[in-house]
């Protein structure tokens, strides 16, 4: 079994990143051996569609389960097609998140828990209590489209 976890850094002791599509790292962890492979997210600063690209990346690397803070509808649709289960609202360190999953205290979700572009709110979101995603996508009137 391979679990993908959004993370602020490349190690098991880094924090779980609340934003799925714009997480700095995806850690692929085998919960039995605690072996970890860290993949840097190439789409942190993408204009749009970051969640879709990230979900595809996670799927291509063979994860069967995703642990993260928030997941929007687009990434959720990709997970549905790929048959990947997802658990949202996860916080703490990556190691703690895996342990909680192994202990059976985390439940998969059957719907996205945030709207599109929820994680696109510039830097400096609060973190620590779990959901810290930046609101404030606003009108985006200077974005390229």
């Amino acid at each position: 079994m391979k679990i993908a976890i959004t993370a602020t850094g490349p190690s098991l002791d880094d924090q779980v990143e609340a934003r799925f599509g714009r997480a700095p790292y995806y850690l692929f962890v085998d919960p039995e051996t605690m072996e970890v492979e860290a993949v840097q997210n190439p789409n942190v600063a993408a204009g749009g569609g970051a969640g879709i690209q990230a979900a595809q990346l996670v799927s291509e690397r063979g994860a069967q389960l995703v642990l993260t803070g928030n997941c929007g509808p687009n990434a959720f649709r990709v997970f549905g097609a790929a048959g990947i289960r997802i658990i949202v609202g996860v916080g703490g360190t990556v190691r703690q998140a895996v342990e909680q999953f192994t202990a059976g205290t985390l439940q998969p979700t059957d719907q996205p828990n945030v709207a599109s572009h929820y994680g696109m709110g510039g830097g400096g979101q609060g973190r620590g209590t779990g959901v810290g995603g930046g609101r404030g996508m606003g009108m985006g009137r200077n974005r390229r489209s």
């Binding site: 749009g48 595809q56 799927s59 790929a82 009137r141």
Partner: protein, 297 residues
């Protein structure tokens, strides 16, 4: 004459100038069209109060997979510049709101497994506001492809002596779509550090497009002299200055035209137009552009 009213900074007075200029010229018995190209938040209609006669949908082409033809090879997802296609476990997922209708997926698909279907993203409304032919576009809330709606507005426009385009603010794709085929651009700013910063960005964009331009300073008696100094240095003509007159703000807040509420400003807009036409005609005669643009040939 096709004049686009644009600005780097939002809220500088583009709509006030566009609508009052259009009305001033219409009163001088020209055929005048006003195109509100700020399709995310059009507001010229609040002031000109047109009678809408015609509403047309705007559609963009979105790819659709032909069942049975797709082999799940993933080339479409690889060539999509906009992340609008994901291919997972051999299944193609299309995210229409991210699609820019570039057609790359259809072009590169080795199985010819795509067909294109129209998707509505907004409407164009046309009508009359007194002597002004009025056209604006409305992008549906939640949609992103405003340039397609702006193209629709411009396409709906017919022939006229004068076409005034009210552009969205900023310097991004929708602005470029709105201004790129104008004969001249009027960049509206205010004499503040914010106004100057965003004016410099807008000047950079307009010079890249090689379109002659001039500057209008709104609330011209506030702030500092830096915008004027910048324009002098850059050989940019200032063709309109509107003072920070509380009565203008009051008229605006009631949805009234400045030149109706305060007729003394009619001359301000007439003079502005005269100066723009002088610059334009001089440029035509001499072959030298204006706005500090280096001209070739």
């Amino acid at each position: 004459m096709r004049l686009a009213i644009a600005s780097g900074k939002g809220g500088t007075g583009k709509t006030t100038i566009a609508t009052n200029l259009a009305l001033t010229l219409a009163d001088r018995e020209r055929t005048v069209q006003l195109l509100d190209c700020d399709v995310e938040e059009p507001n010229c209609h609040i002031f000109l109060k047109p009678e809408i006669e015609k509403t047309e949908p705007v559609t963009v082409a979105i790819p659709e997979v032909i069942e049975g033809s797709c082999t799940g090879c993933g080339i479409c997802g690889d060539v999509c510049e906009f992340g609008a296609i994901a291919v997972v476990k051999g299944k193609v997922l299309i995210f229409p709101e991210l699609c820019h209708s570039c057609g790359a997926c259809t072009l590169f698909c080795p199985e010819e497994a795509f067909t294109e279907v129209p998707r509505g993203i907004g409407v164009i409304e046309e009508g009359e506001a007194g002597k002004i032919r009025f056209i604006h576009g409305l992008l549906t809330i939640g949609e992103l492809m405003s340039p397609a709606v702006i193209r629709g507005v411009k396409k709906a426009a017919g022939e006229a002596d004068v076409v005034i385009l009210d552009s969205p603010p900023g310097t991004s794709c929708p602005v470029i779509e709105a201004v790129k085929d104008a004969d001249c651009i009027l960049l509206v700013t205010e004499p503040t550090p914010f106004g100057l910063n965003d004016l410099e960005l807008a000047v950079g964009m307009v010079r890249e497009l090689h379109i002659p331009f001039a500057v209008a300073i709104n609330r011209s008696d506030i702030g500092n002299e830096e915008v004027r100094e910048y324009c002098n240095r850059e050989q940019i003509e200032i063709v309109l200055e509107i003072p920070d007159d509380r009565r203008i703000a009051e008229a605006y807040s009631r949805g009234e035209m400045v030149i109706h509420a305060l007729p003394e400003y009619q001359k301000t807009f007439e003079d502005c137009w005269t100066r723009i036409m002088d610059l334009h005609n001089h440029a035509l005669q001499t072959g030298h552009s204006f706005g500090g643009i280096a001209t070739e040939g």
